[in-house]
Every structure is written in structure tokens, then in C-alpha cells.
């Protein structure tokens, strides 16, 4: 039910953002007899995309990748496949018999592997960039328990060297950058193309929906309890969240009735969630808390797109499946904090067994370079627990599933014709510690080539420093 309600709205929101247009209030006909004030109209019909993406795909040659084992990102595998892309879009995926049209450069990928670009649904690159000095600590607006008014994109430093490592070593072509988890409502997340740019707008994934970062558990209560204020307990976390959602519902009603007197950035984010335009990404470790959050979402009429970290998701795979909520998890991070004490390396495998949506995420500037290996570890641990999962299904945890979790699955994440030509050519099976990206294309533009020392990005920060342009 929830799913049916939200999906079409999401698509509409995505289109609106793409066109840079505004989305009118949903219920504006209700008060037709009494015209809203100018202020109410302004608060209702504001520009929802004031920092629009300026990203334009870079030029790329029409390309045919021929002979590789291809994982299509949605669970399929083709041996000796042929993948065609041109003008930034995928044209066709087939077997050795797929005809290569004239004008396509042919790359012999025999013995190699092809996947869609890897997508990290949980990154803080740019918000917590390298070097990780205090002056770069821009990921948590830890001055109030709920800050839905802040936007992660306004903290992103495009010169973070981490972006380049994620591209070259991890084959990451898109990433979802979130505020941190100090706050119950940490602010808006943003989805980026992993393409170097002078501004964050130059990286913003066109038409990707906004997201709202929420956080359960230890972090908010520790941060604010430590300041001697609410919330200081898990029950305080929920009370604060619910009170804030009540305000959002009230704001939404006033908007629909044309009674708003001014804009409120925080409420605009939360109403965006209630309208189904902004996807909730909820940091949450424990199963019992996730179960409560699912009910809170029902109480206020929104959906949790994905739980992040979700180390105990394996205990409630059935509930997560029923709610169509993804779990973005590590393969085997464990025990570093109390709420991670019940993490097990079979988490992803048991979720898969329960039919729930699995995403392998990083939350880490090093881990993002090895998401493929993390997935492979989870696959091995699942196998030893009696859950056999094919390589092609496991690749979905890094591609189509994270795309779904952050709302870009219509645009990328699998090798379907018409989608973005976000493609990785691996020098071996990506589910191996021995394999690395050989070439990475974003929207059909070759942005990393392991065989060409100059064809790798070097950030401003690294110019003139030791190791500039090194293989890293």
C-alpha cells in the first residue's frame, strides 16, 4: 500500500527536479473559494531545486565491450557478452551474437568482467574529506537534535581525494552523501555522480531525489544527553522525533489550507518526506529499534527507504521485506560500539534468504574502495551458513539495490538499454580480492583507465604534494 502510494509521487518529483520546475501543493484545490495570501503561496510554491545540478556528461566514444562475463546488476549473467553504449546511454546488452553497429569502437574484454558502475548508498565523502582535520569536519550539525534544514551538499568539498580513490579502486560511479548520525534528523542527503567538478552542483546526479538522514540509538542520545539536554535516552529519541513529525503534519495541513505565513526550511524537508518526494534513510543498528521506526513511519505516513548499518537486520528480515525497506549493511563490521555487538557476518546473506533488499554500503573512505570485496565476503559467509547466492545476485547488492534505496534505479544501477552508461570493466571477477577496475565510464565518458597513467583524476589538494598522480 505504502509502496503504491509513494512510487508515482517519487517519479513526479524526480521529473520536476530534472526540469528545474516547482511542484505545486497537492491539495491546493481544497481552499478554492478563499484565495491564499501571497505569503502562503510563496511558502507553498517555492523552488524545490535552488541549487540545480550543473553536471553534464563528458564526451565519450560509442563503445562495444566484447567478450567479457557481464553481470547486468539485476541478477543476470552473460558469458562472452557484448555491451554497447553511445552518447552516454546504454544501447544494448547481448551475447556474442549481438551485432556491433558501425561507428562503435571495439574493446576486447575477453576474460574480464563487466558490471554497472558501483553505487555507494552511504558515504560521507566531501562532508568528512581527507585530510580529516578539524577544519574539514562538516558532516554533523550537532547543535540541535533535529536539523532537517541542513543539506549535505552544502558541506561537500569536491576536492576530497576520496572521490578519486572510490573511482579508481572501487569502480564507484555514483554515491549518496549523507549528513552524520549525531542528530535524530541530520538533514538532507544528496546523490552525486563520481565525476570531479569545481562545485558540488557539477557532481549532483541529475533528477535524483533528495533524501532525509535520520538516526536511531546511541549517537543522538549520547551527543545531546552529553550536553545535558534531550534526548538522552532511546525513549527521548522517539518522543523528539514524534513531536517533530507532528509539527510537520501541522505545517503540511496549513500549507494545503493556504495558511502558511512564511517558509520554514526544516519543515519543507519533512513535508517533502510526508509527500513522498524525499526518501528517508535511517541509520539504525538494533532490530528492536528498527521495528519501532517502521511503526513510527506508519504513524506519520511516510516510508523508510532504507535502514543504514542495520547490523541486526537479520533478526527481522521478514518485517523488512514486508515493508519493502532495504538494509544498507557492512559485510562484517562488528562490536565497535554497544549497538554493534550483535552484528554477524551472515547479516546480508540471511536478509537475502528472507527475501529482503540487501545493499552493501561503506560509510567509510577506505571501504568505498572495496565494496565488491565486502559483498564477496558476505557471499562466502552466507554460503558457509547454507545460503548459496549467485555472483550475479551479489553484484545487485552493489548496483541496482543501492540505486533503488536512494531512488535512482530508473536511471542507473543495471545495464538496461536507455539507462546511463555507468560501466566498470574489471580485470577479473569483481567478487575477488585480486580484481580491480581496469576502466570506468560515467555516462559513457571514460574517467579512469588503469592502463594510462594520465587518465586518472588528481584533486587540487594533491597537486604539488608527495605522491601526486601516484597509482594510489
Amino acid at each position: 500500500m505504502m509502496k503504491k502510494l509513494h512510487r508515482p509521487l517519487l517519479a513526479a518529483a524526480a521529473c520536476a527536479l530534472a526540469l528545474g520546475a516547482t511542484v505545486p501543493g497537492i491539495a491546493k484545490a481544497k481552499d478554492a473559494k478563499k484565495e491564499p495570501s501571497a505569503a502562503a503561496k510563496a511558502a507553498r510554491d517555492f523552488n524545490k531545486d535552488p541549487y540545480p545540478s550543473s553536471y553534464k556528461p563528458y564526451p565519450g566514444a560509442a563503445t562495444a565491450l566484447v567478450g567479457a562475463t557481464v553481470f547486468d546488476g539485476k541478477g543476470g549473467r552473460i558469458e562472452r557478452g557484448t555491451l554497447l553504449f553511445r552518447d552516454g546511454k546504454l544501447v544494448a546488452l547481448g551475447g556474442a551474437d549481438l551485432a556491433i553497429p558501425e561507428g562503435f569502437q571495439r574493446i576486447d574484454a575477453t576474460g574480464k568482467f563487466v558490471t554497472p558502475g558501483i553505487i555507494d548508498a552511504h558515504s560521507h565523502l566531501g562532508d568528512y574529506p581527507s585530510p580529516s582535520v578539524q577544519a574539514h569536519s562538516d558532516g554533523n550539525e550537532a547543535t540541535a537534535p533535529t536539523t532537517p534544514e541542513v543539506w549535505a551538499e552544502h558541506s561537500v568539498w569536491p576536492q576530497d581525494p576520496g572521490f578519486t580513490r572510490a573511482l579508481a579502486n572501487g569502480g564507484v560511479t555514483a554515491l549518496h552523501v549523507l549528513p552524520g548520525s549525531a542528530n535524530l534528523m541530520g538533514g538532507r542527503g544528496v546523490t552525486l555522480k563520481n565525476v570531479p567538478a569545481r562545485s558540488v552542483q557539477g557532481m549532483k546526479f541529475p533528477a535524483a531525489p533528495y533524501t532525509l538522514k535520520m538516526a536511531c540509538g546511541e549517537n543522538p542520545k549520547r551527543v545531546y544527553g552529553g550536553k545535558g539536554r534531550a534526548p538522552s535516552t532511546r525513549m527521548g529519541n522517539f518522543a523528539y522525533n514524534r513531536a517533530t513529525w507532528l509539527k510537520a503534519q501541522d505545517y503540511r495541513r496549513k500549507r494545503d489550507e493556504g495558511k502558511l505565513e512564511s517558509r520554514d526550511l526544516a519543515m519543507e524537508t519533512l513535508v517533502g518526506v510526508l509527500d513522498g518526494e524525499i526518501l528517508v534513510q535511517n541509520h539504525c543498528y538494533r532490530a528492536d529499534e528498527m521495528a519501532l521506526v517502521l511503526d513510527m513511519a506508519k504513524e506519520f505516513g511516510y516510508k523508510v527507504s532504507a535502514f543504514h548499518h542495520a547490523v541486526e537486520a537479520y533478526k527481522i528480515g521478514d518485517m523488512l521485506k514486508a515493508n519493502d525497506t532495504c538494509s544498507a549493511v557492512w559485510a562484517d563490521w562488528w562490536g565497535f560500539k554497544m549497538e554493534a555487538y550483535d552484528a554477524i557476518p551472515e547479516n546480508a546473506g540471511l536478509l537475502y534468504k528472507a527475501g529482503a533488499c540487501v545493499v552493501i554500503h561503506s560509510d567509510d573512505e577506505n571501504g568505498i574502495q572495496r565494496l565488491n570485496q565486502e559483498a564477496a565476503k558476505a557471499q562466502g559467509d552466507a554460503r558457509r551458513a547454507g545460503v548459496d547466492i549467485s555472483d550475479a545476485e551479489v553484484v545487485r547488492w552493489l548496483t541496482l539495490n543501492p540505486a533503488k534505496a536512494v531512488g535512482i534505479d530508473k536511471l542507473t544501477g543495471s545495464l538496461d538499454a536507455g539507462k546511463a552508461a555507468d560501466v566498470v570493466l574489471w580485470n577479473g571477477n569483481p567478487l575477488s580480492n585480486y580484481s580491480r577496475p581496469e576502466k570506468v565510464w560515467v555516462d559513457g565518458a571514460l574517467l579512469f583507465d588503469a592502463g594510462n597513467p594520465k587518465h586518472r583524476p588528481v584533486t587540487d589538494f594533491e597537486l604539488g604534494q608527495p605522491g601526486e598522480g601516484d597509482v594510489k
Binding site: 537479520y314 521478514d318 562466502g380 575477488s432 608527495p466 597509482v471
Partner: protein
């Protein structure tokens, strides 16, 4: 517990008797046949090999090894058999949950002592991180000391991960000092201060030794109390603890990331020639590889750092270890504190680098040695464990696939010839929640 351990001091035996953990099994003589045998010394895997362990020690390993009559025989069915993994340095046994302060003995910022601190009494052999690491094939570790308020982290220990009460095999095995940004902060805010504090400390230790203080194997027990100069900065306890360091009887592990810091650390030997140094971290080690190789000082390098995470790691690259090794530096993977069981993944990545144009990695054989025999040698235990050469401890791991590959796992672990339990909270949780829904009773009855 091995035969060797049974000969330990009476105090250890008494301690074992006083605890409630069951008496461990004795080592069982055994032969593992039909195995892909990795000796761990940098040689190539041997297909169809046999490993023989008697009296808790490796007797023979390789091809054409005869199986002694009457010993337990395990047919590995072609699977990989390796020495146990050796991790140096780590915080295994000091921590239950890192962020749960009261369970974390890795931090002692308010302690009145620094160099004198000895982690051995704090090691908990049944902490879950030990159980979980053991189940991943880690059998030995050098446990590094602490976050203290000073540049010295105190004295680390060598432990085994066996399921018995006696984890510490060598207490006070090394001293630890931080000469990088962290040390600078603790010394007063500058590298300038670190070097002054360090040199002063070594001089005070040398002076105390000259006056007859701190004699004996355990400087904590120094009973001589000679007069010291009035302006001594170190406590007597700390100064005494540094006597074995300055006299070269106890290695000094130096945390340094920046190439310049590594060179300055090596230069300490000019004024303190007896120092036995080990460099820890070494993100920019490749930029000082020539000096490191010439000095003979070994390195426990953090694997796969490739980001300028700080201004002392600007040159970080995953090729660091490969380049140091190629330059002749004795280098092992080390200094990863969070998850020692990731050692094989890191080593596998170094193998992967050999296929990347312009990168420098390690061959498979050298990569495995860099998580087994090489760290064992660097921590001074190469004759005791870290490989399957005759006479080494019977620390043997059987894997269900290539041990450096992502999807592989451990099927059996032996330490000192004793087969180890591989269960822990994680395996119990896994088994309880294979099906998430309740049956006839709540999950709490499923155990």
C-alpha cells in the same frame, strides 16, 4: 594449552587453577594429509602436501612427508592448510567493545604512568574479539599498549588466541612510542616536544641504570632506589621501564607515518646505539625505503592506506608495502587495530596490485608470509611460530578455499597442536536467526 606452557612458572599454573574455565585439552599428535600446504615462509604452496604435528609442534610439512603410525589423520581433501595468522600490533584481549569505555582497557589517558604500564595483566583470554579472531584463523598477536596521556604507550605483550586461560606467552615484549602527530599532541603540541621528551626519557633511563636502578628482567620489580637528579622528569617506575629499551633488551616500537619522521626515528640510533627499533604505521615508508633497508629496521605497515588522511600521510599509497619490500625492507602487514581477521583480505589486495599497471604489490607467497612468518620474525618470535617449519608451534589453519580470497573461510584451527573451538556469540546468533520468525517458543528458548 601446550606442553610448553605446562612448564610455565607456578604463578601461572595457580592462576589457571583459580579460574573457572575448563581445563584445556592437551595437544594431540596429528597429520593433515592431502592438503595444499602453505609453509608461510614465502615459499610457494605445495599441492598434495602433509603436515605432521607432534607434542604441540610442527614436525614436518610439505610433499612426501610420511604419516607417523597411530596419530590422528585429517584428510584435507585438497584444501588449503596454513600456519595460523600473526597480527602485530592489535588491541586483542584489551577490549570488549571499543566505545564502551568501561570495557576498553586500551585507553589510560589519566594513568600516572606511561612507559611502565604493562598490558599483560589486563588481557582477557575469553573476550569475544579473541574468539572471533581465532575463528578467522588468527592464532597469535602482539598486543600493543595504550592510549596514555604520554608519548609512551607502555609495554605490549605477545599472546596466543587459544581457548585456555593462559593467553600471554611473553609479557613486556616491547615498548611503544608515538613520534607522529599523536605523539606531538601528547608531548605538548609539537614534534619538537616529542623528540625532547623522548631523548630526555632515554637519557634518564640510561642514568638510572648507571646508578644501579631497575636491574632484572622485570623493571617493575626494581627494588634498588638510588638517588636521582632533582630535575628528573620521569617517574622512577617509568624510567626503570625504559632501561631495557635503552640497553637494547626490549624492542622499541615507534609509530611514525611521515617519511621524515621515519628518518628521524632511524637517526635515534646515532645517540642510542643499542636501540632495537620497529617502525609501526609507516604510511610514507616507501619514501624512506632506502634508509629503512639500509638500517635493517623492520616495519609493521598499515596495509592499503592510500588517502592523505593527515598531513603526515600525504604520500600514502597501497603500493607502500610492495615498494618497501622491493627495496629490501623487512615489512609485514600490521597496525590494524579494529579487525585483525581482515588480515587475509588486506594481503589479498597486495596480490591484486601485482596486476595493476604502475602499482607494486606482493606475490601470493610473499603476501601470505607478510601475515604469518614475517610479523612473527619482526616481533622476535620467528623461531617459535608463524610458519610450518619444523620446530614451530603447531598453529595450523584449514581453509575452505584460497585463504587470501574474499569468499574463503576457516574450517579448523589448531594452536600448539590443540584443536580450537570456533564458536562465539556471532555463530550462536547466526544459528538462532537462520529463520527470523519465532517457532513454538520465543527465540530466547533456542540455545
Amino acid at each position: 594449552m601446550s606442553a610448553r606452557k605446562l612448564t610455565l612458572a607456578p604463578a601461572a599454573l595457580l592462576a589457571a587453577l583459580l579460574t573457572s574455565v575448563a581445563t584445556p585439552a592437551l595437544a594431540q599428535d596429528m597429520a593433515i594429509t592431502n592438503a595444499t600446504v602453505v609453509i608461510g615462509d614465502g615459499s610457494a604452496p605445495i599441492p598434495g602436501g602433509t603436515v605432521v604435528v607432534r607434542g604441540g609442534k610442527v614436525v614436518a610439512a610439505g610433499a612426501g612427508v610420511a604419516v607417523p603410525a597411530g596419530v590422528r589423520t585429517i584428510d584435507a581433501g585438497g584444501k588449503w592448510v596454513t600456519p595460523g595468522l600473526v597480527v602485530a600490533v592489535t588491541d586483542l584481549g584489551l577490549v570488549d567493545v571499543e566505545a564502551v569505555e568501561e570495557s576498553n582497557d586500551g585507553e589510560a589517558g589519566k594513568a600516572p604512568f606511561s612507559a611502565a604500564l604493562d598490558i599483560a595483566p589486563a588481557i582477557n583470554p575469553v573476550a569475544q574479539p579473541i574468539l572471533i579472531s581465532r575463528a578467522a584463523g588468527v592464532t597469535r598477536a602482539a598486543v600493543a599498549p595504550l592510549d596514555t596521556g604520554a608519548i609512551f604507550g607502555g609495554q605490549g605483550a605477545i599472546i596466543d588466541l587459544g581457548a585456555d586461560n593462559q593467553a600471554v606467552t611473553q609479557p613486556r615484549a616491547f615498548q611503544y612510542v608515538d613520534l607522529g602527530e599523536t605523539g606531538a599532541r601528547r608531548a605538548g603540541g609539537s614534534r619538537v616536544a616529542v623528540h625532547a621528551v623522548l631523548r630526555n626519557a632515554l637519557v634518564e633511563a640510561r642514568e638510572l641504570a648507571r646508578r644501579g636502578g631497575g636491574a632484572g628482567a622485570d623493571p617493575r620489580l626494581a627494588d634498588a632506589a638510588p638517588e636521582r637528579p632533582g630535575d628528573a622528569l620521569l617517574t622512577r617506575f617509568d624510567a626503570a621501564a625504559l632501561i631495557p629499551v635503552v640497553s637494547g633488551r626490549q624492542p622499541l616500537y615507534v609509530r611514525a607515518e611521515r617519511a621524515a619522521d621515519i628518518r628521524i626515528a632511524l637517526a635515534l640510533k646515532t645517540d642510542f646505539p643499542a636501540l632495537k627499533l620497529v617502525i609501526v604505521g609507516a604510511s610514507e615508508g616507501w619514501m624512506a625505503a632506502r634508509e629503512l633497508a639500509a638500517s635493517g629496521v623492520p616495519v609493521l605497515a598499515t596495509p592499503l592506506n592510500d588517502l592523505p588522511a593527515s598531513f603526515e600521510q600525504l604520500g600514502a599509497t597501497q603500493s607502500n608495502i610492495g615498494r618497501m619490500a622491493a627495496a629490501g625492507v623487512k615489512v609485514a602487514l600490521g597496525a590494524f587495530f579494529d579487525q585483525p581477521r581482515h588480515a587475509p583480505q588486506y594481503a589479498g589486495n597486495l596480490v591484486g596490485l601485482t596486476k595493476v599497471p604502475g602499482a607494486t604489490g606482493l606475490s601470493w607467497d610473499k603476501a601470505f608470509a607478510a601475515i604469518s612468518s614475517v610479523p612473527a620474525e619482526i616481533i622476535g618470535q620467528g623461531d617459535k611460530f608463524g610458519s610450518l617449519k619444523p620446530g614451530r608451534a603447531g598453529d595450523v589453519v584449514i581453509w575452505d578455499g584460497d585463504p587470501l580470497e574474499a569468499g574463503s573461510g576457516v574450517t579448523q584451527v589448531f594452536i600448539d597442536g590443540v584443536e580450537q573451538p570456533l564458536t562465539n556469540r556471532q555463530t550462536r546468533l547466526r544459528d538462532r536467526y537462520l529463520m527470523p520468525t519465532e517457532g513454538a517458543l520465543p527465540k530466547a528458548y533456542d540455545w
